[in-house]
């Protein structure tokens, strides 16, 4: 394993950013951005998680193969989210729509 030494300064900066992100999340929770509420909350959380993975988990200094593994797992997560959302997004929002009809003609 390659032992990359990270200076304490980096850790402090990252830690401060994470704290800032937490504060931002709390603040955002009390505002109403309507349909963007969840986008903003998840956006901040994603940035924080990325920082943790890159710096605290040393992904930034890891060999290419480790990075590939991380990218692949994120891709797998994306598959799960994308196909699940594909279901939600194509459901009829208008309840009166005769949704199951297609079932019977395929």
């Amino acid at each position: 394993m390659s032992e990359h030494i990270v200076s304490p300064k980096v850790y402090i900066v990252i830690f401060a950013s994470l704290m800032l992100g937490t504060g931002l999340t709390v603040w955002a929770a009390f505002q109403n951005f309507h349909q963007y509420n969840i986008v903003i909350a998840l956006g901040i959380a994603t940035i924080k998680a990325t920082l943790v993975v890159l710096y605290f988990m040393h992904a930034r200094y890891s060999p290419g193969r480790t990075q590939l593994v991380i990218v692949c797992s994120i891709f797998w997560l994306a598959i799960m989210l994308a196909l699940t959302l594909a279901d939600y997004d194509t459901r009829p929002h208008d309840i009166t729509l005769a949704a199951p009809q297609v079932f019977y003609c395929v």
Partner: protein
């Protein structure tokens, strides 16, 4: 029964992993880091769960002898099939072949001394025991009645059974699976002997590589999902319960994102076993090596894209259903590639009917039926009719019992001489394989008809017109039970009284057969160097087969 004709009087090696002494007695087992001993620890523990699951299955079948239900109350019936499913799927079938044979064989097959992380390997067994302990606690204090699928809000709100310890147990057990997968992947990447290139890997190793990918990428999802259901149950956090702002269908998405790939955790290793057995007893290199290897990876990948075919009637969108139906058809292609390659390997082979081969041939037939009926179910229109009927039950038992368990028992017969150093009675074991095949079909084929006629699954009662088929099924289950008890008894018998096998009784081409039976703790006396292509019988004088001619000598001689 005798050994290879060329080497009459064989003896067990003086020193091997079973009699090696490090520490005393039981401690040398409980603290071992030898992958072969850990495999045997797993063998013992999955057998316990197989027994528990088997007893529950027997009770289900006895209950269904009469339309009104012969044995238990409706509430208890729900617990029977749930606990049967949980024990069999999470604690027997998922760990069975990987944790027993994968553990035992992967280092031997690639010419390594052990797995990459021997201590983590032992840890995974303890995690399995702890997870299993929680689940047994749930079984014995109130039982579990949600179905092995734990659908919400039944599991998270309404069930009065011991759901919480069960989901905690399965959550914990997931880590055992993840660690096993991790160990296999790292081992196969980094510990291959000189000359053991990727395309000289045994297909069993390829199958386990693919399985490990599924274990690592899928298991965390089911673990978290069940934990969320548990949190909703314990602390009323709204994830899946609509009354709390959750979405019950989200649970099914997350659950099946793992649990469909999980069916490939069960079947891929069995396919690996069959890919080893077929060329050995056809005495021919396997047909289409790279296609079989590649199809394992393809199954692992495409298997992740089909999960919502379990949800066609739950209210998922029509477009999603169409997509998942199409993708489900796609996943059948790599499975079919394997079946065609196995049958092409048999073509013009010099086939011997040794017991492992009988199991492997049984596997192919039953897997084909299971796979093809999967395509029926993946058809949107037909699935409306047969969803949640006995047709589904028959489908997955054809694959999981007819396929995966058949592969497991076949593998047990194939590698038993390596594991114990001894052979078992040949005719008796061929007979057992046939009993298993007949009993299996009698148990589960009637269930296809029952389902098609409309008998729903998971009910404690049924209309009287379904009784004949149910009685047939129960009769078949009794024969099937004999098919499992027979091998259990003669294999145990053989550990003491079986003829000594020698290093390579069949003979087979893999590296594991080039060391003693049973192997020594370090596996090989000297690190082997691989200079031959996989499954090549022609250029392997060390196998002791007649030079040039197509070898015909059956492994057991004439008994």
């Amino acid at each position: 029964m005798s050994n290879t004709p060329l080497t009459p009087d064989l003896e067990l090696p003086d020193e091997h992993y079973l009699n090696a002494t490090y520490g005393s007695g039981i401690r040398s087992w409980l603290l071992t880091t030898d992958h072969k001993r850990i495999a045997l620890l797993y063998l013992a523990s999955v057998t316990v769960f197989f027994f528990i699951g088997g007893v529950l299955a027997t009770m289900i079948r006895i209950h269904l002898l009469t339309p009104g239900g012969a044995l238990v109350t409706p509430e208890t019936y729900n617990k029977l099939f749930t606990m049967h499913g949980v024990a069999m799927i999470f604690f027997f079938l998922i760990p069975s072949i990987p944790a027993v044979f994968g553990n035992f064989l992967i280092p031997l097959m690639i010419g390594a001394k052990d797995l990459a992380f021997p201590k983590i390997n032992l840890l995974s067994w303890y995690i399995y025991l702890i997870g299993g302990g929680f689940v047994l606690y749930s079984f014995s204090t109130g039982g579990l009645d949600t179905g092995w699928t734990f659908y919400t809000p039944l599991s998270s709100v309404y069930s009065n059974s011991a759901v919480t310890p069960a989901v905690i147990g399965i959550f914990i057990n997931g880590f055992s699976s993840i660690l096993t997968g991790l160990n296999f992947i790292v081992t196969i990447h980094t510990m291959r002997a000189p000359g053991m290139t990727w395309f000289r890997l045994p297909l069993f190793a390829w199958a386990h590589y693919a399985t490990s990918l599924v274990m690592i990428l899928g298991t965390p999802v089911v673990a978290i999902t069940l934990l969320l259901a548990g949190l909703e149950r314990m602390f009323h956090l709204g994830f899946f319960n609509p009354a709390l702002g959750g979405d019950p269908i989200l649970f099914q998405h997350l659950f099946w994102f793992y649990s469909h790939p999980a069916v490939y955790i069960m079947i891929l290793p069995a396919m690996g076993v069959v890919s080893e057995i077929i060329p050995t007893f056809a005495r021919k290199p396997i047909f289409g090596y790279s296609f079989i290897a590649g199809s394992s990876i393809a199954i692992a990948v495409i298997g992740f894209l089909v999960w919502a075919h379990h949800m066609f009637v739950t209210g998922e969108s029509t477009y999603a259903a169409l997509t998942f139906s199409f993708l489900s058809y796609l996943v059948a292609i790599p499975s079919a590639v394997k079946v065609f390659n196995w049958t092409s390997t048999l073509y013009k082979g010099s086939i011997s009917w040794d017991p492992p081969m009988v199991y492997a041939l049984g596997f192919i037939g039953l897997f084909v039926i299971g796979g093809l009926t999967g395509l029926f179910l993946a058809c949107l229109g037909l699935d409306i009719h047969i969803h949640d009927t006995y047709f589904v039950v028959a489908h997955f038992h054809y694959i999981m019992v007819g396929g995966a368990v058949m592969g497991y028992v076949g593998g047990l017969h194939f590698w038993w001489p390596k594991i114990t150093g001894r052979l078992y009675p040949k005719s008796l074991s061929q007979f057992a394989a046939i009993i298993l095949f007949v009993g299996f079909n009698l148990t589960f084929f009637p269930q296809f008809i029952l389902g098609y006629l409309g008998m729903p699954r998971r009910y404690h009662t049924y209309p009287p017109e379904f009784q004949v088929l149910n009685v047939l099924s129960t009769a078949g289950a009794s024969i099937l039970a004999l098919g499992y008890l027979l091998p259990m008894s003669y294999l145990i018998w053989s550990m003491r009284y079986g003829k000594v096998a020698g290093p390579n009784p069949w003979p087979a081409t893999g590296l594991e057969w080039k060391t003693d039976s049973p192997p020594l703790t370090e596996n090989f006396h000297v690190t082997p160097e691989v200079t031959w292509e996989p499954y090549d019988f022609q250029n392997r004088p060390d196998l002791g087969l007649a030079a040039g001619a197509r070898p015909l000598a059956p492994a057991h001689g004439d008994d």
